[in-house]
């Protein structure tokens, strides 16, 4: 299925892009992150991240649907 991924901050720099549409067999955000670590060498551990699906915080085990927009959220530093 196709997913839309947006990258921010350190992950944007490490991926070398801010967004992409990806064909993947990953059924959950957790599996998807593993796939992307292999592809881009992200240095953040999954436990350091949160994940959002369709602009709302999500569980790592949520079943992804075709067309979902996924964002991995590195440790935040507002303020």
């Amino acid at each position: 299925m196709q997913l839309k991924i947006h990258y921010y901050a350190l992950m944007r720099e490490q991926a070398g892009r801010s967004e992409e549409t990806l064909e993947t067999s990953a059924g959950t955000p957790s599996a998807l992150y593993g796939e992307l670590v292999d592809r881009y060498g992200f240095t953040l551990l999954r436990d350091q991240l949160k994940v959002a699906v369709n602009a709302e915080f999500s569980d790592w085990g949520r079943a992804l649907e075709p067309g979902d927009a996924v964002v991995f959220i590195p440790p935040v530093a507002g303020g």
Partner: protein, 150 residues
Amino acid sequence: MRFRFTDSPIDTAQARRELLDLGAGGYVSFEGWVRDHNEGQEVTRLEYEAFQELAVKEGERIIAEALRRFPVKHALCIHRIGALDLADMAVWVGVSSAHRGEAFDACRVIIDEVKHRVPIWKKEHYRSGDSGWVNCERCAAAPNHIHEHA
């Protein structure tokens, strides 16, 4: 919107006006400024980046929680995005209330929660020429690498 971003300097006079209320006996505000040092490094400038669609939702939730928890009149938070120099204002929080105690409390809770929960990232540029994403670089590690958190 009670939580919003701006890519230009925060207009605190305008923001304050949004909190005016005849039932309020005063207001408390917090300004976060760009500091010239962090964790032993000399900072020369900053960049803020946000996942705005979710950040605005989460920021609004934080304000709504504060308004439920404390008997205050109005609350507002404005966060900068983009490139900032030293001494620039990065964030502004204001709360108006009948009495000062709950205004101080609500203001404190709002800024603390914004720092912890809202998807905003800060890249610091250092005098040394290095740069780094705050909270992301130091404890980032390759899988299987054993590391210590400060």
